[in-house]
Subunit: 206 residues, 2 copies
């Protein structure tokens, strides 16, 4: 396509590198930015450059942070004995949004996936083992996706820490709220029958 | 949602201002940019800032350009007597992609739309009238969208230039290639019967 301006074409090329943004959408975004005030576009580009330049990853849990230790790890009210192990930052946000978890996190930065060339060394597994070694952690909750990568990662970490007295749990699997039984897959339905909960217990939890 | 980093939150806010990008997509884009190399993100933000800062609009036709006069207007091989009037830059690209038009363009920058608060003064209509006044233009092809805004704009410009000897045409309306007759709307179908073309004439055009 003829862009009649190299500046516009360059911007479209850059925007089209973003995930899920094709060339047509990139052009629409570029033309939108062209219509905006100069100050607004400068704020846009500066904010993004600033984020990439200045953001830090928490030295304890590897979560994104503006400081060396993130505000979850630095909080005095959160239980330091329970650590929830997640794949990425979005999982931290999803769990934080429930407001039901008062422990700390550990962000692995991915899952072990030999097919994608991701080995244990590229993930923050060693730092998790170091945290376990300190002896302050009583329970590790694994909140990983229920697929081969998630299971492999769980198995690998379990092996690494088997000599330490830490309770290991995973998120409950079952029928989701609003989900219809007839559309649930057989495996999930089977698991939800095996791990059925008594109504009394459910009441107590409320 | 708790972002655990103000830098990340600011970037998500900026990305979510783009058209068609919600907060969830903005977060995905921001996390993608966080994973990229610092140089790549700097190139990204600089390219966009540079585009907004340095891009020019052709002083003749109002198309985007890297120079004061765009390469279409500056071209010596294009017919200066035929001008295609379009709403925006994307329409110029669409027509240029057909490689069937060898005249010049005039980008209005929008359509008259009182409901959206867009009046003739906000569009590049006066400069079009000035171009017509010079007497070099023999034909104006109106390639505007066939809706109320397009018709209003066409009618307004027609009134403005009625005293000048300029032929005014519009794009042909009819059944699109690959379109099925039974799904065509009645108005388009009626128009395509009224303005039917003889097979001989079509042959000559090829």
């Amino acid at each position: 396509m003829n862009y009649s301006s190299t500046l516009l074409e360059n911007a479209v090329n850059e925007l089209a590198k973003l995930p899920g943004i094709g060339r047509k959408t990139a052009l629409r975004l570029a033309l939108h930015l062209l219509k905006e005030k100069k100050e607004a576009v400068h704020l846009f580009s500066n904010t993004i450059a600033e984020m990439r330049e200045q953001i830090q990853f928490c030295s304890v849990c590897n979560n994104v942070s503006d400081t060396q230790v993130c505000n979850i790890c630095a909080s005095s009210v959160r239980k330091k004995s329970i650590v929830c192990v997640v794949e990425n930052i979005r999982d931290v946000m999803a769990i934080e949004a429930t407001q039901q978890f008062s422990g700390l996190f550990h962000v692995l930065g991915g899952l072990i996936s030999p097919l994608d060339g991701v080995g244990p060394d590229q993930l923050f597994i060693e730092s998790l083992v170091e945290r376990v070694k300190t002896g302050t952690i009583e329970e590790l909750i694994f909140a990983l996706n229920p697929n081969i990568q998630g299971d492999t990662t769980l198995f690998y970490i379990q092996k690494k820490i088997e000599s330490f007295p830490v309770k290991i749990t995973s998120l409950a699997r079952g029928i989701s709220f609003g989900g219809e039984l007839e559309y649930a897959d057989e495996f999930t339905l089977a698991k939800s029958i095996q791990n059925r909960i008594s109504i009394e217990r459910q009441k107590n939890n409320y």
